[in-house]
């Protein structure tokens, strides 16, 4: 049972509104609840505007959540006080960004980019130790030490993303939020970066929150998947199960739209349209465990319908 594993992150009823009380109030994240277990990869998928990036940013406390709690490693993130506690928190949790061109300071050398966290957290004994750590990190991500005195513009997109990963790893985090880390890369390079992330996860016992819109890659890298739409998570379950036996209509529609590199499959594709009127109808909904480890956001009167779907798919009896 998944419940026996240690939860590293517990998100409860997280709400992140912008322009609260004004006419243009945006409910970017609206009552989101999920857990992430230590050592797993949790994939958060959704279309643009679904709130997946905002959710990631709220977790790392780049925003002050409107309400809800975020418990990381047994500690309530909103109750962190002062610089020292925030420092300690940010050492455990790091972020890899989407755009490898925008997320590296063009005026800093690679060694200083990678070592920034080491400097802030005082992790190096002396200069020689700092250099050694940077060189080891570069090697870990598949670059070499000669690269350390170069500037970001001298690198390709894939190499830059490796630098971003080295920077995240520098403070020896337990948890990494990767926000569309491969979207800006070419197909052949995407596989390199994904493989590197998987390898590092095993070696360093990392936990990932992998945010992306590319469902086939998310399914491949994730242990579990959460599907977001209009600021809410509609379905959570094991990656293969969500992909092969989606229960929520939105997930079905989303998966039916993913292009597959197989002309025969594409000729026979049936795209499932989605009607969001039911989802938007003002009903009280919560996450209900329809099949073991497989949750769907539904109202009380929808439970029976989803359970039947799960039974039909052979997910539960």
């Amino acid at each position: 049972m998944p419940d026996e594993r240690k939860k590293i992150l517990e998100v409860r009823h997280l709400k992140q509104y912008f322009n609260v009380g004004k006419r243009d109030e945006v409910r970017a994240v609206d009552d989101v609840t999920f857990d992430i277990y230590e050592g797993e990869t949790f994939g958060l998928v959704g279309e643009s505007g679904s709130g997946k990036t905002t959710a990631g940013r709220s977790i790392i406390h780049l925003y002050e959540p409107t309400s809800g709690t975020i418990i990381f490693d047994g500690q309530d993130v909103s109750k962190l006080h002062g610089k020292a506690q925030m420092h300690a928190f940010r050492r455990k949790i790091q972020m890899i960004f989407q755009d490898p061109y925008a997320s590296l300071n063009p005026r800093m050398k690679v060694k200083d980019i990678v070592a920034e966290g080491i400097d802030i957290h005082g992790l190096a004994k002396d200069d020689a130790d700092r250099t050694k750590q940077v060189e080891d990190l570069l090697e870990t991500v598949g670059l070499n030490k000669d690269h350390s005195s170069r500037y970001p513009h001298e690198f390709s997109g894939g190499q830059r993303q490796r630098i971003g990963i080295a920077r995240a790893l520098a403070v020896e985090p337990k948890f990494i939020i990767a926000d569309e880390p491969i979207s800006a890369l070419d197909v052949s390079i995407q596989a390199q970066v994904v493989n590197l992330m998987k390898e590092l996860q095993i070696k360093q016992n990392l936990t990932y929150l992998f945010i992306a819109h590319d469902l086939s890659m998310v399914k491949y890298i994730s242990d579990r998947i959460g599907v977001m739409h209009y600021g809410k998570i509609l379905e959570i379950g094991p990656a293969d199960e969500v992909y092969n036996h989606p229960l929520h209509d939105y997930t079905k529609s989303l998966i039916s739209a993913v292009p597959v590199p197989d002309p025969e499959f594409e000729r026979n594709r049936i795209q499932v349209p989605y009607d969001s009127s039911n989802e938007l109808a003002d009903k009280k909904r919560r996450m209900v465990e329809i099949a073991p480890g497989h949750f769907v956001r539904c109202s009380e009167d929808e439970v029976a319908m989803y359970t039947q779907r799960a039974v039909d798919a052979g997910l539960t009896t």
Partner: protein
């Protein structure tokens, strides 16, 4: 094989870019045909030359580009030799283009109805009123809801998917013979992407346009293309029908591309990434440009450039592996799986397939 009429014939195209660092040999001897009513997909990584190739068809190369040789025949005339003024008559009328980013390819200060009507007034000499009336029809055709109410809206009032529909409406309003779509759905969400692709297919059937579809997304290619050309380092390395490229690929680079994408049944484990990065085209490698990244490279690959070997009447690949004297190699497991599927697909039609001997 029923050969449709060629609309565009590109022969031995060579394009260099003058940069501070030297001459970048972006297109190194590219030849291909575009047939009437077909969709030809050009796939490849960034820097492989797919966008440069199609921009040359439109006469839209950057000022530092120089066409070093070759020809682009369109209706018996060489586009390369045409003046900018002549190109202005072709562009948007006979050959139209859809760009990747619908956010930047529309004029933010112009009402969308006018943007769609503009090519009609320019190329067909229609009066504004008639042009706007046709623009309205076009808006209906690309599936904008309430077209009468929205024809006077500005681009910012539309979502990304709707904007791309408007871009398509502008491109197709003159019923061009050729539509070049450069990553038209890359910036869109998958559900919107599926709608736009369906729309393009539907419109293609109606007006019998030939489409050159540029993308790096092999999933999209599988759904859209009739034929596929794979580009690497400024060259086409393999081309064939969509089934031939996806189910019977011959070039190690095509293998690598197909292999590095997770499919529905990719088990967890390691994706087979292509190691390394594409070569620097300031100084292109001798021989097969992919050799440095290929597990299947032979000595000759670093010495001599492979010619195109014929796999079938419609399928050619530039790899020494197809030379009769080359040692037999086993492609990656995923490719072998695809080739088995291909063999099964071929059986009813032709039991003896020349490609089978090359495995």
């Amino acid at each position: 094989m029923d050969q449709a009429e060629n609309i565009i014939e590109v022969r031995n195209l060579k394009i260099d870019f003058h940069t501070y660092a030297g001459e970048v040999k972006a297109i190194r001897d590219v030849s291909f045909d575009l047939r009437k009513g077909e969709t030809l997909a050009i796939v490849g990584e960034s820097g492989s030359g797919k966008s440069v190739t199609t921009r040359s068809l439109m006469g839209l190369l950057a000022p530092n580009a120089e066409i070093k040789g070759g020809s682009i025949m369109f209706h018996g005339e060489d586009i390369i030799k045409k003046s900018e003024k002549d190109m202005q008559h072709i562009r948007g009328k006979d050959i139209a283009m859809i760009f990747q980013d619908p956010m930047t390819s529309l004029d933010p200060t112009m009402r969308i109805g006018m943007q769609i009507a503009e090519p009609l007034m320019k190329h067909k000499g229609l009066k504004k009123k008639e042009a706007i009336a046709q623009a309205l029809e076009m808006l209906k055709l690309v599936g904008i809801t309430d077209p009468e109410g929205r024809i006077n809206d500005y681009p910012y009032q539309f979502s990304g998917g709707m904007r791309q529909r408007i871009v398509i409406a502008i491109a197709l309003v003159c019923y061009p013979e050729v539509l070049i779509a450069d990553e038209p759905t890359t910036a869109l969400d998958v559900t919107i992407q599926a709608q736009i692709l369906d729309l393009m297919k539907d419109l293609q059937n109606r007006i019998n346009t030939s489409i050159i579809f540029i993308t790096h997304d092999l999933g999209v290619v599988a759904g859209m293309a009739d034929r596929v050309a794979v580009m690497y380092a400024g060259k086409i390395v393999e081309y064939g029908t969509v089934d031939e490229i996806f189910f019977n690929p011959q070039h190690p680079y095509t293998w690598g591309l197909l292999n590095s994408m997770p499919t529905l049944d990719t088990a967890s484990g390691s994706l087979s990434a292509i190691p390394g990065t594409p070569p620097d085209l300031l100084d292109p490698p001798v021989g097969d440009a992919f050799a440095a990244r290929s597990d299947y490279a032979m000595k000759i690959d670093t010495e001599q450039e492979p010619p195109f070997f014929k796999v079938s009447d419609t399928h050619y690949a530039a790899t020494w592996l197809l030379h009769p004297d080359a040692p037999k190699v086993t492609p990656p497991a995923e490719i072998v799986r695809r080739q088995k599927k291909f063999a099964a697909m071929q059986k009813p039609a032709s039991p003896v397939k020349p490609a089978a001997a090359k495995e």
